[in-house]
Symmetry: C2
Subunit: 381 residues, 2 copies
Amino acid sequence: MTTIEPGAVDPLAAERAARMTWARLVEPREDKGRPLIAEHGHLGALARVRHDPTLLGRAAVARLTAFDLSRELRAADLVEARVLIPGDPEWPLSLDDLALPPHCLWVRGPADLRAVTERSAAVVGARTASAYGRQLAAEISAGLAGRGFTIISGAAFGIDAAAHHGALAVDGLTVAALACGIDRAYPAAHTNLLKEILERGAVVTEMPPGSAPIRTRFLDRNRVIAALSLGTVVVEAGLRSGSLNTARHAAECGRYVGAVPGPVTSVTSAGTHELIRTREAELVTDAAEVAELLGVMGDDLAPARRGPDRPEDRLGRKERTLWEALPASRGAPLSRLVEATGMSASDVLQALGSLNLIGMAVRDRGGWRKPPEPKLEDTSP
Amino acid sequence: MTTIEPGAVDPLAAERAARMTWARLVEPREDKGRPLIAEHGHLGALARVRHDPTLLGRAAVARLTAFDLSRELRAADLVEARVLIPGDPEWPLSLDDLALPPHCLWVRGPADLRAVTERSAAVVGARTASAYGRQLAAEISAGLAGRGFTIISGAAFGIDAAAHHGALAVDGLTVAALACGIDRAYPAAHTNLLKEILERGAVVTEMPPGSAPIRTRFLDRNRVIAALSLGTVVVEAGLRSGSLNTARHAAECGRYVGAVPGPVTSVTSAGTHELIRTREAELVTDAAEVAELLGVMGDDLAPARRGPDRPEDRLGRKERTLWEALPASRGAPLSRLVEATGMSASDVLQALGSLNLIGMAVRDRGGWRKPPEPKLEDTSP
């Protein structure tokens, strides 16, 4: 494991400590420090900041001075979290697709994060989800988990929770990415859900222990969800839902984005409709379609959609034409059927005979009609 | 008017008679005769068929022999229908975009067909529509009619009827295109609807009087609906609904196609979802979006969608960060807020002062928290 255990030799110890320091010094997508890091690496950049405190500003320097590696390690140990950095076998290479990848990741749970995210889908959406949205999130997640996809989401109320539960319901793997420290259960009402996820899956965050889930960190977290998975499905989203932000991050790092439509009268579908309208997302309606979107070519093709078969589909061309011209009430005489169909009288008679044999034409008041059949069905061609 | 009235001189009389004959000889999209017509025109092609009866086959020749112009004119007169052909001022030029345009059109109603279809939308869909679909069809049609669009549909049960009714409800113009002869009211249950449409609008068909609405003629009719309008909106459609066929015809003659999504659990939305999925249609959710799709550039732009404003949107960056880190229950001490936000103690204190002033932070048990506010809202960023 990549946990830094007391006594174990960590070949990346210095780099790991430097990255953990950076996670304390700056917010994940803060510009400050990034040019330094890009030029000198995390360790080198840190040395430069120590040398010239003006580089990052007063507050960051105060945090740099206060940084205490052993305290950090204890905080992670306390919740049995490991700290991953690039170079660790468990570091998900997918994160390198981000413009600003996490400095490091705190991870809990038995799953190997790189392995389980190799075939994974993010299922996200509104917190104020409707029953429709929660049902679909659970169904799509269960369907994907059943096809071997790990479900990644944000453990929030509504769609996120339904997505995790859907995967858990079929004993699938699921990963929760948090916007707060690994030592926090957020939202508190989902403490048990997070425990369930931890039984076989993983909980991850790039925020150091003790960090609160504030707005910008949700946006930071969303890019981690997007990058960790092969694609993101937005199930329900209002026009300001954070899941739209996740979808855009997914598109930015070249991942597939799907969105589930709903009634246009539902405000919680306005965001998914907008994603589809603007071509930022593909419209998806079930797990099979999502699997096709995400899966390996040819491996996960959704079955083609077709309507139900109807008796008249099996008729020959002339029989079909006549059958359609037959009135549903009051029999029509032969002359009327000839005019109505444009067929010759002998063709009409022949077709009437065939239809009569299979019970699809009956005599009525000296003419012919369809058999009575009290059903309502969309029979438009 | 282009009606052939007794005694009036019709400069296109011979061509009109020839085209009315062709409408009796062949079905609208039948290949037979089309090469002859393309080469020699309707009149010339007819002369050739008279000369060589083998060109069209036995049944067509029988119909040619039986053709009786004065009887045809009487049948049209009986229902006060006029017969339009290319060259008439009322002939809609849009029909010329069809690969196989109608030979002629029977038209009833006071509207000038060319004029009223110049700014028009087809609103079509499933016969077995849901209440959701019918409501949307009526709303979208009313909204478009209110923006000066003529609503074109097929007078069928379900979406078609709701579309016509929506236009009528706002005193808008609407046109019904039939799959049967102009002397027939199909479906019979819509006799009154057709009468209402006829009061200000028009009813049209390319099928000669007496023709029954058989399957292939619905498909013929669908291409007329598609070509007559600037674009087609499919409101609800099963996977085999004829409205999908209308949508495809619309795309073929370069018209815009929109489709309204619905719950993925509804079979009557499976067809519209498929149209959107396959990029055959744009997703549309209301009349404004359809108007934008169909309207003149810049003239009919739909308002941009945005979510509601929230109090925290108006906060400064530090106040916002702190506000988000404030617990919703139990006050948190200063040290906790410093850790949670990554802000300096003095910044936290200053932001607390500002939030407290506007009632967005309150003291609680020696710490600070958000004011109690029992509401459920999607506040994810």
